[in-house]
């Protein structure tokens, strides 16, 4: 039974995948659906949702189309989430593999660095990083990755520790492969699946961290994100709650979708392991 079929057997995974595919499609189609800058002022301010079908979700305090903001916000949220997760996993898997494979002093040193990063809450780290360097998309991605790479690093190290004792690693040594080549070409690919299962959790966390940073006004002010929409809406929470609720729901659905997808992924992976 192949991997896709195993994945399809977990209902939560399927629901998550459907939600995610829908979101990705919306995000990709954003420039086609709303070719104008989503921050452009298009109508009367504070229009209620469903009052005007040209602006189905209403407008915010400056008269911007909430639906256009929401759709473009999906782009930003998914992009930041996925980019941060990729960066975190790339850093984490590399560090973990090197630490696990090299052992000894290198292992000790790298793992103490991991410990140091783990003692600081990821969000505070991101907050400090962004407020010192300044808010732009790549910086926000890096800031979030900085707080999220330790999980993959520990997991990758644990996997590598067990894999490096296997026979095929010894054989690779015998035929004279360079240790780094062994680490990254022979060991890392085999250590990766459990680390990948962690990816969904990191993506979900990254989307939330990005939203929190934008909410505090530390996101990139020139693009729309759901966090900044909620922050904007907060000032008029009592008179126009929909301005905070709409992006809030989008955030919840996305994070839920990512989690469910991750759940399905982890289940499918563990089934494969049981079989092997």
């Amino acid at each position: 039974m192949n991997f896709v079929a195993r994945f399809m057997r977990s209902p939560e995974g399927v629901i998550g995948a459907v939600v995610l595919i829908g979101l990705v499609l919306v995000a990709l189609a954003a420039p086609l659906l709303f070719p104008r800058d989503p921050l452009a002022i298009v109508g009367q301010p504070m229009l209620e949702p469903f009052a005007d079908w040209a602006l189905p979700l209403g407008t915010d305090r400056l008269g911007r189309n909430v639906l256009a903001e929401l759709v473009h916000g999906a782009r930003a949220s998914l992009l930041v989430g996925i980019a941060a997760a990729l960066a975190a996993m790339a850093i984490g898997a590399s560090v973990g593999t090197i630490a696990g494979f090299a052992g000894g002093f290198v292992d000790e040193a790298l793992m103490r660095v991991v410990d140091a990063f783990q003692t600081v809450p990821g969000f505070l780290l991101a907050l400090a990083f962004v407020s010192v360097i300044g808010a732009s998309m790549p910086i926000v991605v890096l800031a979030i990755a900085l707080g999220a790479w330790t999980g993959p690093a520990r997991l990758a190290r644990a996997e590598v520790l067990s894999i490096r004792e296997r026979d095929y690693v010894d054989w690779a040594r015998v035929i004279g492969m360079h240790p780094l080549e062994i680490a990254f070409r022979e060991i890392l690919p085999n250590a990766l699946p459990p680390v990948l299962a962690l990816s969904a959790v990191i993506v979900a966390g990254a989307i939330l961290t990005e939203a929190a940073l934008s909410f505090l006004g530390l996101g990139d002010p020139n693009i729309v994100t759901w966090g900044s929409m909620i922050a904007e809406g907060r000032a008029v929470l009592r008179s126009a709650p929909f301005l905070s609720i709409v992006p809030g729901i989008a955030l919840v659905v996305t994070v839920l979708g990512v989690y469910l997808f991750g759940e399905g992924l982890a289940e499918a992976l563990s089934r494969r392991r049981v079989r092997s």
Binding site: R61, L62, G63, A235, R238, S239
Partner: protein, 536 residues
């Protein structure tokens, strides 16, 4: 029964004349101030240095003005817009080289020592002139203060100093400190900067960081029967949404300085027992200004600046961002300063086509992506409205093909970027007009004398003709001549656009209706509240 009714009616009719004659005093009696009680107000910041003679800012005055008094306070109906406080009379000499103040009799400090002209002389020479942010300018040429007797202080200036300027600056710059506590000490580090001692209607009682400031009634206050309140408690509520709900829950009586967000005013104003008051800030007009960095090649071109002025829809800004609680600006002097306001300045109507034409004329044609050039836009983070205007300005400029990239900073980073590093092209600033252009307004357009001074012209703009006008006005003793000079300044600024004035606004006070005598002077929130009272 009916007989009784008729007889009562007859009686009422018969005494109608009598009733009419007493009606007025009777209603006045109903409004007579009640004594006692504790007024609880929201405070949104906790200034570290509370000394109003050193830090002449609204955040400090809000608390300190009840404890330490100026020589005179702003007033709606007083002569020249002033009401006496520690001085009862003031007069400038014809040559502008001296100003004489007659001080109030029988005033004592909170520690029992008498208040004399020595205190005024000490404050003027050792605090206002060398240490105070605004006093440095107003009292720049103050040479000495003569004290012929304990109730007379004569200020002597080395250069003619217009008395009009001194007078306009009295409420904000002349908080008098007790000489006996400050003399011979390091004034900036004196413990009395936190534990204030003054002559005001309230004594400073207690400060709990993060929680409250407490002021208590000064039994020996010079104002007869004043103050009415026993205590004023400032509850520290940095979160703006919290102030609105605290008012509704009757946890606080009053929130000044627009502590309640503008968007909430309509809703909260409709509630019973709560009143939204836009009066009482006439002497503290904030101006929404687009600061321009003239070092940027495109912005050095007058046509580009004119195009930006034409691209801004002031009506939208007033109606949507300020929800009507503001006025569109016509120039660098606000309309509620009739003494100086010039209505004849050049105006830039909202006209996108004209803005586009001006930019084409200036030689900046649209590229393939529709953009002419890119600018950095730094909105000041101090108010919701300045940030929102930044968002709006970005869109307004996009309409005319200017791509403005917003950078959000905190207060410290914003001030460094704009006023020290000059790392901006356009910035949004909220300067304050303090009753006289010389106090804090002309500094926005005059050639900079020093780098890094916050809230001054750091955009590299320099116009010798404008500098001459400003410098002449600073020593013009004759009021008409001085006003004429400032009219010329306004016209030149409107023509040459060193900056763009967009709107001007005062703050909003939201109070429970049980609080009386609210907003009864043009600087009410930062005045002494001696006559404020509260229903039991």
């Amino acid at each position: 029964m009916s007989k009784f009714l008729i007889s009562r009616r007859t009686l009422l009719g018969a005494s109608a004349a009598l009733l009419a004659s007493t009606a007025l005093p009777r209603s006045a009696f109903a409004q007579e101030a009640k004594k006692g009680g504790r007024l609880i107000v929201a405070a949104d910041s906790e200034p570290r240095n509370l000394n109003p003679a050193i830090v002449a800012s609204n955040g400090v005055f809000f608390i300190a003005s009840k404890v330490i008094e100026p020589l005179a306070e702003a007033s709606f109906d007083g002569e020249n817009g002033l009401a006496p406080r520690l001085a009862t009379k003031w007069e400038g000499s014809e040559d502008g080289l001296s100003a004489t103040f007659t001080l109030r009799e029988g005033v004592t400090w909170h520690d029992g020592k008498p208040f004399t002209s020595d205190d005024v002389a000490f404050s003027a020479l050792n605090v206002w002139k060398p240490l105070q942010n605004l006093g440095r300018l107003v009292f720049a040429n103050l040479e000495s203060v003569d004290t012929p007797d304990p109730l007379t202080a004569i200020f002597r200036f080395s250069k003619p100093t217009p008395f009009q300027l001194i007078r306009n600056a009295l409420p904000a710059t002349t908080s008098v400190l007790p000489k006996h506590l400050y003399d011979g000490t390091d004034i900036a580090e004196n413990p009395a900067n936190a534990q204030l001692v003054g002559t005001g209607p309230f004594k400073f009682a207690e400060y709990k960081p993060g929680e409250y400031y407490l002021l208590k009634r000064n039994e020996a206050y010079w104002g007869e029967g004043e103050p009415n309140l026993d205590e004023i408690l400032y509850r520290v509520l940095p979160d703006r949404a919290a102030a609105a709900s605290a008012l509704e829950a009757e946890e606080i009586h009053l929130a000044a300085f627009s502590a309640v967000p503008l968007a909430d005013l309509k809703r909260i104003g409709a509630e019973d027992g709560i009143e939204v008051i836009s009066k009482g800030y006439e002497g503290l007009t904030y101006q929404l200004v687009v600061e321009i960095n003239h070092r940027t090649e495109q912005l050095a071109n007058l046509k580009v600046r004119q195009a930006i002025a034409h691209a801004i829809d002031k009506k939208f800004v007033v109606d949507t961002i300020f929800l009507g609680y503001a006025t569109a600006s016509t120039g660098i002097v606000p309309q509620n300063a009739p003494e100086f306001y010039d209505a004849e300045t050049e105006q830039y109507d909202f006209d996108v086509a004209k803005a586009n034409a001006l930019l084409d004329e200036a030689g900046y044609t649209r590229g393939a992506d529709g953009n002419r050039f890119t600018l950095r836009l730094l909105p000041a983070p101090y108010f919701n409205e300045t940030r929102q205007f930044g968002d709006y300005l970005r869109q307004a400029l996009a309409e005319v093909g200017i791509d403005a990239q917003i950078a959000n900073n905190d207060s410290a980073a914003h001030q460094k970027a704009v006023y020290t590093d000059h790392a901006f092209d356009l910035a949004v600033a909220p300067p304050v007009f303090r009753g006289d252009p010389a106090i804090s307004t002309t500094i926005l357009v005059r050639t900079a004398t020093a780098e890094g001074v916050p809230f001054s012209n750091q955009g590299g703009y320099s116009n010798p003709a404008l500098d001459t006008l400003i410098d002449d006005a600073l020593v013009a003793v004759d009021e008409e001549e001085r006003t004429a000079l400032y009219n010329e300044v306004q016209e030149l600024v409107a023509k040459d656009l060193p900056l763009i004035n967009v709107a001007e606004w005062g703050f909003i006070t939201v109070a429970r209706t049980s609080v009386h005598n609210v907003s009864n002077n043009p600087r009410w929130a930062v005045s002494n509240w001696a006559d404020t009272w509260i229903d039991g």
